[in-house]
Amino acid sequence: MHRRTFLTISAGLATAPALRWTGALAQDATPTADEDLLDLDRFGPVAASSPYTLAFFQPYPNNEFWQRLQGAVEARAEADGVTVEVYALGSNEVADQVAQMEAAVAAAVDGIILGTINAAGVVPGVEAANNAGIPVIAVDTAPAGGELVSLAQTDNVEASAAAGAFIAEAIGEAGKVLNLQGEMGNQTAQARNEGLHRVLDGFAEIQVIDQSANWTQELGLSITENVLTSDPDLVAIFGANDPAALGAVQAVKAAGRDDIVIVGFDGNPSAFEAVQAGDMAADIAQFPERMGTYGVDLMVLHLNGEEVEALVDTGTAVVTAENVEVFLGIVS
């Protein structure tokens, strides 16, 4: 697909060493200025002791985040000397994913790297692998049951707590903050809500207005329009995902306001562009590249007979105007 503005940022990675991190790379031991941003070699590359065949379960083949994750899986599999078979889910049905897992078990793959579509529904698939003695490593989301060798994911609570801390500082620890929550009842949405509240509720002068934008730009836009009417003294907006935050950007712009701190969550190119343009103060970026790469390395280590960590936090970064160029370089 045709690339537009991202081309101009191709120099972004080259400038990485010169940057100082204002935002924390969560859980990373004191990131130094010249540290490789993506930190992909934390566990590998690992030379496989035999040419294993891995199965990667791709839940959202059309989603940018998951496309990046899959790219990392394939790249690292090649580096480690293993084969990876991609089981891409065409429907949004967890039953189909379970059927795919049963097929992988029947094909006797050596290991499964699971991107699950539904934490609860996928459990029978995980158990089928367990019963056949095939190790499973989950990326991004943990299944609700079954046994995992390891799990590589973003700590959503910590990440949105970082967003909360950024907002609190930017608004001088006082004022009204609109929290555009994700889909109600969704596990990730709850974690992001929890993290934001954990920090903002600690400030007596901050009032949080909770409204669910259901992960959509439409509701991000219309809810912000409404709240700007009822609460013109609003000082900040947190979008639990990027589309919601971008909807808020439009409402704020249309209202002719430029004094509202907007923070998004996801790390989509469009959000980075909004940060670059000054429309958003910050975006919380996840690292799907790490999830995919670590997933493969951990699996190969396990198959080689070594002990691996049960839980790996793949970290997040607070992307602001100061470091946005580097991140635009990663996603382009």
């Binding site: 929550q181 109600m184 909770d210 409204q211 669910s212 730009q217 009417t229 009822s230 439009q250």
Partner: protein, 330 residues
């Protein structure tokens, strides 16, 4: 349409044209009472700025519900409207973004694509003789999948960076009235005129009232059904233009679940899901009622899950009132 012809169809023209006033009394009263309550609780509700917000936020549902009124009046349903909006939007958006098309042809494409998708639904329903629920349940997935496929699942943001004039449909205004509101009114008036003064409008009621009788009266009902689904598609195309401009983006996942809002607006407006009875004025009121509830409860900082519950309750209540009213008049 002569009186004799309508009698031949077993149709009571008076009930269609004059029955409307009574049909919309319930939703209209609900709208007024609810607005007064919210105004009392939050005075800013009645500010011109906020009323424009409400009108703007009702526009997507109102436009789609106008087309949906026709479909439901024939006794049909269209579950694919949200997906039609997405696919139309994506087609026009890609033309501007990837192929550098100017604004007007791209906008035309969105509307035409919407119309074609509607005709596909109509063709399968009539020629295949498959219930519309099943047909549109399938095309809902097909159209959404196609929209995802065309864009590789990625949203295209900032369309106005390519065609600045595209912003007029969603964020422009005419004498202070927002463009989405004007577009909604144009669609609504057009729908009202078609329903009231054209053969298509009359047969829409007739087919829903008694399809067999209408067929035996010599009406080529397939032709008119096709027209109704095509019309639904055109409104989806118009909605796609307005909404992608308002969001300044085209997203394959846009308007997911919007079919349910459109159906809810039609039902709240007093149109019978069994077809043959209802009005487009009621539909507009239904769409406004839903927007007022969402807006009002947000102004009052009511958590989102209560908003869902309230809207759901209003839908059930509307049908209940309709049932009681009918029992009394019968």
């Amino acid at each position: 349409m002569s009186n004799a012809a309508s009698q031949a169809l077993g149709l009571d023209l008076r009930r269609i044209t004059f029955g409307n006033v009574w049909q919309v009394i319930g939703p209209l009263a609900s709208l007024i009472i609810l607005s007064l309550l919210i105004w009392w609780a939050e005075p800013v509700f009645m500010s011109p700025q906020n009323l424009l917000n409400v009108a703007r936020q009702a526009s997507l549902t109102a436009i789609l519900a106008t087309g949906m009124t026709f479909v439901i009046l024939t006794g049909g349903i269209d579950l694919s409207v949200g997906s039609m909006v997405a696919l139309s939007s994506v087609c026009g958006g890609l033309l501007m973004w990837e192929f550098g098309w100017p604004m007007w042809p791209a906008v035309l494409v969105m509307v035409v694509v919407g119309g074609l998708l509607g005709l596909i639904n109509g063709a399968i329903v009539t020629l295949g003789r498959i219930p519309p629920f099943i047909v549109t349940l399938g095309t809902m997935q097909i159209f959404r999948g196609a929209a995802l496929q065309l864009t590789d699942g990625k949203p295209i943001f900032d369309l106005t960076a390519f065609q600045p004039s595209f912003s007029m449909w969603g964020t422009g205004d005419l004498g202070g009235i927002p463009a989405p509101v004007i577009i909604t009114l144009v669609v609504f008036v057009a729908g009202w005129l078609i329903l009231r003064y054209t053969r298509l409008g009359l047969y829409t009621y007739a087919i829903g009232g008694n399809e067999q009788a209408t067929r035996f009266s010599g009406v080529q009902i397939n032709r008119y059904k096709l027209g109704v689904y095509g019309l639904m598609g055109v409104t989806a195309g118009v909605a796609a233009v307005m909404w992608s401009s308002r969001l300044n983006s085209t997203q394959p996942t846009v308007a997911t679940g919007e079919e349910l809002n459109a159906i809810a607006a039609v039902v709240i407006g007093g149109t019978s899901l069994f077809g043959g009875e209802g009005s487009i004025v009621g539909t507009l009121i239904g769409a406004l009622l839903m927007a007022v509830i969402r807006n009002g409860l947000t102004l009052l900082h009511v958590p989102s899950f209560y908003q869902q519950m309230v809207i759901g309750a209003v839908v059930v209540l509307a049908v209940l009132i309709d049932r009681l009213r009918r029992r009394e008049t019968a």
